[in-house]
């Protein structure tokens, strides 16, 4: 008993330590899942942490929208709903390092809980201008990788940067992912159209494909297929549905821009 759970949360149970282990495991799973770790790795990490505190027979079931974690012998079950999901692999790395230390028995349960809370709250990330610049560079690089023309380099650079800036801005405006994807692909379509009209760019299609690369769910589709192959059928199917909707939003957005122009 380390005392970081309030009394009412553990009331009536004989073994308060088990409840704390479950709380720590669920928090670990939540951080991993919210920041883009693979499904089987989330389950594996949770079970390993439970094991390293000598709590065996832990079961976890992870889907993209929630985690169910249960310790069979002690009638302890926790359910966590996940609403916001993004990709922040820095946090995944930090949790991974932490779980390695736990496996070696270096971290006490109380300490682990505090460290996890710290990781969960931390906002260390690359700055937004740098992210926008990175998206711009990626877009113009993709243009060259798909054997585009050199003249289209500048339009793709600006369209890609504007797309990422739009993603960040519209996401702050409304926390609906498809809305921000739709709006920023409209921006990309407009810039591509404008640059071709003004004679700055030549191949509109290549400019658009380069510029939407930071938005399209290529990685998401691959992860979905991979989850299905690894046996996580529920999360694989729901991820592919999400990826399909994202692709839909982008396609509609770019086409709307073409029709406006």
């Amino acid at each position: 008993m380390n005392g970081f759970l309030e009394k009412y949360q553990t009331k009536g149970s004989k073994d308060e330590f088990i409840h704390e282990v479950a709380a720590v495991c669920v928090l670990t799973g939540k951080i991993l899942l919210q920041n883009g770790a693979e499904t089987y790795r989330v389950e594996d990490t949770m079970n390993r942490i439970a094991n390293s505190y000598a709590v065996h027979h832990a079961q976890s079931f992870v889907t993209p929208t929630g985690i169910i974690f249960s310790i069979e012998d002690h009638d302890v079950t926790q359910l966590v709903r996940i609403n916001q999901r993004g990709t922040n692999l820095r946090k995944v790395t930090e949790v991974n390092t932490l779980s390695r230390r736990v496996a070696q028995g270096e971290v006490s349960l109380n300490e682990l809980y505090q460290l996890l809370r710290q990781i969960d709250r931390s906002t260390v990330a690359y700055s937004e201008p740098l992210q926008i610049f990175a998206a711009a560079v990626a877009s113009s690089c993709f243009l060259l990788m798909f054997l585009g023309k050199w003249q289209d380099l500048l339009p793709a650079f600006f369209a890609g940067g504007a797309g990422q800036a739009g993603m960040i801005y519209f996401h702050k405006l409304a926390k609906v992912k498809f809305f921000s994807e739709f709006m920023s692909s409209i921006v990309i379509g407009m810039i591509a159209l404008l640059s071709v009209r003004l004679g700055l760019g030549i191949e509109m299609n290549k400019i658009i494909i380069g510029a939407v690369m930071p938005l399209v769910p290529g990685v998401a589709i691959t992860n979905a297929v991979r989850d299905i192959m690894a046996g996580d059928l529920v999360s694989g199917l729901s991820k592919s549905a999400e990826a399909g909707l994202t692709a839909f939003a982008i396609g509609i957005g770019v086409t709307s821009a073409m029709m406006l122009g």
Binding site: E38, V92, N96, A134, M145, G218, I221, I252, T255
Partner: protein, 162 residues
């Protein structure tokens, strides 16, 4: 000479694109630079296999197998999760442009072309996922064989200090 220029441009752009994506995904600095290397190697393998054989499924599968093996090695060496390296490696390969093409054709009512592209997206992402999973399985088999044989050898032939 022309070929050399093409290779150089492809190598530099794929390295930069992979690293730039890593910044969007918030990958820490050191894995970011390693991931760029993996992305570059994978893209060059894909580019050449595709140029010479014309089969993008085989090229994608071979490249993703290499990515997965390299990411397993880097992850073990640097004690980081595999996903850091595999995500940045597959970024040049993922069918993002094709996914966009599916939807852009579908909204213009060109469903026959859209369906063709959609199947291609499915097969290519399947090839990448297969490459990643196969490498993991190979690694597990390799570990098991190494473990078994080294035990046997230690017992039978050598006196290795533990």
């Amino acid at each position: 000479m022309h070929l050399f220029i093409v290779i150089t441009i492809q190598a530099i752009t794929s390295y930069l694109a992979t690293c730039a994506f890593g910044i969007i995904f918030n990958i820490p600095m050191k894995p970011l630079l390693h991931g760029g290397l993996i992305g570059m190697v994978a893209w060059l393998i894909y580019f050449f296999l595709f140029e010479f054989s014309g089969n993008d499924f085989a090229a994608t599968f071979a490249a993703s197998l290499v990515i997965a093996i390299m990411s397993q090695i880097f992850a073990r060496l640097c004690k980081n999760p595999v996903i850091l390296y595999s995500v940045s490696g597959i970024i040049p390969l993922v069918p993002g442009g094709l996914t966009y093409s599916v939807m852009s054709r579908a909204v213009y009512n060109h469903f026959d072309v859209a369906l063709y592209f959609a199947e291609k997206v499915f097969i290519l992402s399947g090839a990448i996922a297969m490459g990643l999973i196969f490498a993991e399985v190979f690694y597990q088999i390799f570990e098991r064989v190494k473990h078994h044989s080294s035990k046997k050898i230690k017992k039978d032939f050598f006196f290795v200090k533990k």
